[in-house]
């Protein structure tokens, strides 16, 4: 499995403020190395976030997203202690899932 994400989920009023830091090269497949060879594409294709089995975020990423992406979003209906699960899959089939508790 790939490197862990850092997820922070904080209840603020009636919304849960989620911030996710992701460790990923997000290589576009358009860059060349020092020898002129193309560096192979390696990027996250889909990322989903589920709160207690309900999908709160469903994304399609691509080569426009830069290295080590930082994701920030809010959703309603969460409570302190609730479980948030974030999951991504990349174009090479690598995947990562991490859980955070809403504080």
């Amino acid at each position: 499995m790939a490197d862990p994400m850092r997820i922070r989920a904080v209840l603020s009023g009636d919304k849960v403020d989620v911030k996710v830091l992701i460790r990923h090269d997000m290589e576009t497949g358009l860059r060349k190395d020092a020898n002129g060879k193309i560096i192979p594409a390696h990027f996250i294709q889909t990322l989903t976030a589920k709160y207690e089995d309900k999908t709160v975020l469903d994304t399609v990423m691509g080569i426009a997203v830069s290295k080590d992406p930082f994701l920030s979003f809010k959703f309603k209906g969460g409570v302190k202690g609730g479980k948030l699960v974030v999951s991504w899959v990349d174009n090479l089939g690598d995947t990562r899932t991490d859980t955070a508790i809403v504080s």
Partner: protein
């Protein structure tokens, strides 16, 4: 006549003001951009990996780094970074954080020197263990004040050698560190230059390393920054974690005394 003068001056001031503002506002905008980004600093991912590496049992000796003494006792991380570089009795010399980590990786964990310094500057597909460890260890000094000592004669020696090197002009371009870093409010192209002889500037600047460098996509340490400075000064390559580098770091760390360390930071 006086009225015309008054209005002319006002109009002139209004016309001139935008030009003056334009020059200052680009650095203000960059500061705003940094503030917005600081919330999602990828360096935190390096800190997480560094914490894992610190606690990981590594062969051949199958021990972790948790007994490594960074100057405040074996395994004590809180506040260790802000007191480095410092004199270590067990090796009878002054070491900075990276030198000390290499020492612990070799003496405690049993790695060879080559293994301990391999991939010291990470690149795509080749993450650096040391950069992650430095990110973690420095984060444990977040919010604390820089407090290196030059009481021990070897610490004083390191400081003085660092100072001598700071002023040493050499190479094809006659550059020394002082060429760029000894005046207030100067910039090279559009990059502001810190005056490392000015206490406030030195405090602010020293506290921004290590940092996640967006242009590099990696957490970079002070050693990396110095290496890149020296390259642009037309100097040959400094050996990684050498005595000269530690001396220079000691000079800067002492000049930054009392400054609040806020790292790891985020830079372009």
């Amino acid at each position: 006549m006086k009225l015309i003068m008054k209005y002319s001056l006002t109009i002139l001031a209004i016309l001139v003001a935008p030009c003056v503002l334009a020059e200052g506002s680009s650095s203000d905008e960059i500061a705003k951009y940094r503030e917005l980004l600081a919330d999602g600093n990828p360096a935190e991912l390096w800190e997480m990996r560094g914490e894992e590496l610190w606690k990981k049992k590594v062969s051949p000796n199958n021990v972790s780094l948790e007994r490594c003494d960074l100057g405040k006792g074996p395994g004590v991380l809180k506040g260790a970074y802000v007191e480095l570089p410092r004199y270590f009795e067990d090796v009878n010399k002054v070491m900075d954080l990276e030198q000390r980590l290499i020492f612990c990786r070799t003496s405690i964990q049993g790695l060879s020197y080559e293994q301990a310094v391999s991939s010291h500057f990470g690149s795509v597909g080749n993450p650096s263990d040391i950069e992650a460890l430095v990110a973690y260890i420095t984060s444990e000094s977040k919010g604390m004040k820089m407090a290196v000592s030059i009481k021990h004669p070897k610490e004083m020696e390191a400081y003085e050698i660092g100072k001598n090197f700071f002023y040493y002009r050499a190479g094809t371009h006659d550059f020394s560190c002082a060429t760029c870093h000894s005046s207030d409010k100067k910039r090279i192209r559009l990059q502001e230059l810190s005056n490392l002889l000015n206490k406030k500037d030195a405090q602010k600047t020293y506290a921004t390393w290590p940092a996640y460098r967006v242009s590099q996509g990696e957490v970079r340490t002070m050693q990396h920054r110095l290496s890149d400075c020296l390259r642009q000064q037309r100097f040959p390559e400094p050996k990684y974690a050498s005595t000269t580098m530690t001396a220079l770091i000691m000079f800067m760390a002492k000049n930054a005394e009392g400054g609040v360390f806020d790292g790891p930071a985020l830079k372009r």
